[in-house]
Symmetry: D2
Amino acid sequence: MTSDRSLRLGMIGGGPGAFIGAVHRLAAEMDREFELVAGSFSSSPEKSAETGRELGLDKARVYPSWERMIADESSLPASQRIHAVAIVTPNHLHHGPAIAALKSGFHVICDKPMTISSELAAEMEKAVADSGCVFVLTHNYTGYPMVREARELVKNGVIGEVRKVYAEYLQGWLSEALEEDGQKQASWRTDPARSGPGGSLGDIGTHAFNLLEHVSGLRVDSLIGVVSTFVSGRRVDDDAMTMVRMSNGANGTICCSQVCAGRENGLSLRVFGTKGGIEWSQEQPNDLIVWSKDGASETRRSGNAWLSDSAQTLGRIPAGHPEGYLEGFANIYRAFARAIRGEQDLEDAYPTVADGSRGVRFIEAVLESSESGKWVGLKNT
Amino acid sequence: MTSDRSLRLGMIGGGPGAFIGAVHRLAAEMDREFELVAGSFSSSPEKSAETGRELGLDKARVYPSWERMIADESSLPASQRIHAVAIVTPNHLHHGPAIAALKSGFHVICDKPMTISSELAAEMEKAVADSGCVFVLTHNYTGYPMVREARELVKNGVIGEVRKVYAEYLQGWLSEALEEDGQKQASWRTDPARSGPGGSLGDIGTHAFNLLEHVSGLRVDSLIGVVSTFVSGRRVDDDAMTMVRMSNGANGTICCSQVCAGRENGLSLRVFGTKGGIEWSQEQPNDLIVWSKDGASETRRSGNAWLSDSAQTLGRIPAGHPEGYLEGFANIYRAFARAIRGEQDLEDAYPTVADGSRGVRFIEAVLESSESGKWVGLKNT
Amino acid sequence: MTSDRSLRLGMIGGGPGAFIGAVHRLAAEMDREFELVAGSFSSSPEKSAETGRELGLDKARVYPSWERMIADESSLPASQRIHAVAIVTPNHLHHGPAIAALKSGFHVICDKPMTISSELAAEMEKAVADSGCVFVLTHNYTGYPMVREARELVKNGVIGEVRKVYAEYLQGWLSEALEEDGQKQASWRTDPARSGPGGSLGDIGTHAFNLLEHVSGLRVDSLIGVVSTFVSGRRVDDDAMTMVRMSNGANGTICCSQVCAGRENGLSLRVFGTKGGIEWSQEQPNDLIVWSKDGASETRRSGNAWLSDSAQTLGRIPAGHPEGYLEGFANIYRAFARAIRGEQDLEDAYPTVADGSRGVRFIEAVLESSESGKWVGLKNT
Amino acid sequence: MTSDRSLRLGMIGGGPGAFIGAVHRLAAEMDREFELVAGSFSSSPEKSAETGRELGLDKARVYPSWERMIADESSLPASQRIHAVAIVTPNHLHHGPAIAALKSGFHVICDKPMTISSELAAEMEKAVADSGCVFVLTHNYTGYPMVREARELVKNGVIGEVRKVYAEYLQGWLSEALEEDGQKQASWRTDPARSGPGGSLGDIGTHAFNLLEHVSGLRVDSLIGVVSTFVSGRRVDDDAMTMVRMSNGANGTICCSQVCAGRENGLSLRVFGTKGGIEWSQEQPNDLIVWSKDGASETRRSGNAWLSDSAQTLGRIPAGHPEGYLEGFANIYRAFARAIRGEQDLEDAYPTVADGSRGVRFIEAVLESSESGKWVGLKNT
């Protein structure tokens, strides 16, 4: 069942064996903001149809290709056709569908990294501007209530002027050459033709980068980095580390790795200022530690009435009832829906096409720096 | 959007201001096992209609009373009428709707505590048996993957023969007389006419009791308890503590409180045996600590491929992506759906009407013991 | 090397294989408050001499029996003879040496439980009063800075009026019958002739009881308890659990166990009042969690300048440099030294003979209650 | 009291207001390995005498200068004169006393960083070699049992071939210009004439560097770094960050900061290999987390009989009784004593003069790299 308010969503990608497609579907429908009514789930028409059947979709709206979906949906009456498209394909297949969808007037929510080069990213920025449509990039970790609380604390000066930032995203699942065994998630992520030039950089490094900029309210001005490929035969990086300088003179590190054996999904952020600091870890997302120069540290937990409005708005259930990854992801979809409807929402309610461009430039800058051994600038748009 | 497989659900209760109704709706639809198509959301027809509208339900299936819903749905053709009823009313309003629904052949999922006396509980047990329908009680915490893992470890002898059990559920939200300010959640929970004889005992004590029996695989044989009402003017207990003896000779404590100021939703369980122990806390539900007599403690985390099948089955996303309260709750709904469809599922896949009866007897036994100062038996059915 | 201020200490007990004797020696000398100059380390003169040699003591002051030590030291000139006696023998050998020492004008520091019956405890209380000497019982856990901080917070009303108390002390090391293998620590602790009537109750239960009364500033008025012996053939309890009522109407539980397999030294305390609560765990002793009804929880850490004076006084090194068990124990010795010198110290700076009597009565009360199944009073002296 | 085995120690530095001098004294005497019998505690003869009096030292052996102490002690008969010298002065005053002491045949234990330039460090290396004396540098954090356990696990291949290393040491106490208020600890540490060229780098960065090399068993081959001075007017760095390449091809980061406001003494280390990883944090030093590629993480705790011999040797009390900073420091003194006596001890039982040289080179390399923006090599001696 869906609410009267539900928007109609079409999905590109997310066929058999996909991970993130299922996440998008759960997130999109959790708050009844969207109803999935159409899809082109695979480049194989058979597989697309199979997934459509499993999802109980109207057969007529399960398409053999994304081009057909966009074309056919465009020709449906406004009361039936989709409002928005979710793009959950491998990285090389974001740009094409996104621009086509935008040109047809469909709002777009797209997985990260946004695309595989800054030239393509610029085209996407232009397409968004030209279309007047909403474009959301699923840097989903900014959807966690306590990430928002952290951002509010920084913005309101609770930790003073920012001096140090430490962002990291450590995983271990690619410690071995899973791609050689045909594991689907590993295969496309380690294939430069599909992942783009960055491996771990694109897959998780951009999340850490985005989280850092989101919470600190600062921009990474320049960086120096080293990318590594530890697993023999792998064609993209599986590890990167960088030192960064921020727009206000703060500095710090951004590290990502997929070969920290035993670590699951260790995205964490620490930001320190003249008066205190904040610390957040994705694996315990309902806790936010706030350090203070002159007193005890606090552990702020989601769901409490004394949190910032931003943090409270993103919660569904009272304090002590953990919300997790899917709820955080759904918050991004909710922001997407509100933007489509023109409703008021949080400031910087969702990651934008500009954030997506910055992510792509981050990948390119780290790779360039690792090659040259020099600092590389990330000029802001 | 719902899958072809989705079952049709009608809800009783869950109108404006309700907490648990919204949780049930999110949980029921998360995995597309159910589609909410009908409801009687309030004893006030206007409020029922209002909630129905907000949810986008067909007006014809939003009913002014639960009696009407059961009667009218029964007369719909099988291809349209609801398969199941979710009862999310205050405790005194579980028994009537449940029995009526069962008599009409509707499967039932019902909030806890099951009802307000063991006599009524016995009637419900009989009604379930007579109906042949599925009845699920939402002791939702048994839906967490790591609770299942704990149960498997105990069952498989990893911690040896159980000797000690410590279950507790500590909250602080009723530290003050919120009911006097008309707070809806506090009001009915502290009104014996609606909550039944137990206050904290029914609201949270039964969860701790059920979790303990579920994980340990043992039964509480007898107990001695003390119930307290710390907040002046309150009409039910807001705290209870008990010492218990288990069916195998183990013993321990079960404590619950709603006046532990500052605590959010502190349900936790520890079970120790001859070889080791397990420890789980609801506020960090993806972690399970396993103690060992002869080695390091382990922290098992949900989503890993080396967990028991039971634990893995209950997860949606890979390790390191936290699942929370809603996902655990949705697992109970999934088990409900599978039972309705006659599909294979986990052993003891969901809390049953018999578990519900035990919970009611637990409440009565603690109250009786607190009155008499003596040990009281909980004979098993 | 010792300071001019160092007091001369004689030890009774603590010979080969002893655990707590070595702890007392480290603690006594850590801050140079005491210098160990004499000892009767074992009932075997040979073993006493052996320990004396290992410790580098003057042979003439290593005695074959505690009676001889007290007699001979008494006859030394004041400038040489010991100021104080440390009694670290098994429980049944506290009373005799303590009274003899006090009668000879020696100050006494004695391990817990104080003795093996309340009659003997009363004699010790009288002996202390008659002697005018200082008597300290090593409930060493009250020497931790953050335990003191907790006490201060409660006393100053930070958590409001106390309603709930939960004290526990869970170990696993006696999960098997170590005493049958001749393990020295296990042997005397499970021999009623040496341990007295309580097993786990005396060894660790009294610590939990004392910690609770120390921090809460309240007295246990009455209790109901169950003692268990889980290991076959054991002659004393290896587990106990109680429900208690406090002098102000608060209530809660005190549990101890030595069969929680895998647990090391799990002493912890939680106290909740009308405005918040405190939580402290011995295994992470530098942290104190402070819960608040209306805001984030705090983690107060030892060594900080913004802590209470009491907590600060008990630290040696700045925040972030963990102090542990030995430092906490040494704080009790420091308080002992100050009391001997008549120096100002913290209020209730150390556990007294009256605390020792309460501990003995606690053991007796739990045993009596477990036998009768009834509530038993602990009237205050 | 001291044991017959106690070695006689003289101290240089550690007068009024000193922090680390008191730590050295507690650590030296904790296990009776040393007895402090002589000292030159300050460049002010009056202050030296004052400290000597407070410590109860024989007046004749409290010296007005370190030169006099070395000269006069040398002329005492072997049965009286000191065996060893502890140097606890500011960094610029390590080199002179150390070489003088070594030349007079005294063993030396010296605080870190070893000295203020690699030229001086080379002289110290030569002096040690020429003297045949024992020289220990107090990188005290290697004295923690669980650091040793980590080292053993890495050495024994439990985590496989090392790929990633992350060392950090974050403090916040210098977030403001304490040196302008005359705070003694801040003053000399921020005065290049006394601290040498590195500020945070020397004070804490060298600890992180040493810990990393100790545990990983690898050498830092080259690094690129950035040093910062965030507090206006400060004359040395108060923050540094580096990326490092290890001798086996692993890489990672070493970061230190004294302006992470609110952090106390956050030294931590993570090392990941092909099969798993280890994680240790100084603020909870009794825990060691061991990550595994294929199973649950473990938390190993000090004091257990199933730990490596190395870890067990460094503990004093059973598992669950926390040992802290002072005990870890005392373990370094114990190793020093054993080396002096020629007793068997752990492999790499203490940090050596060569480790000290590496630390000095680390400081110089980071400063050089920060200046040039280029990678700098740290060739092994």
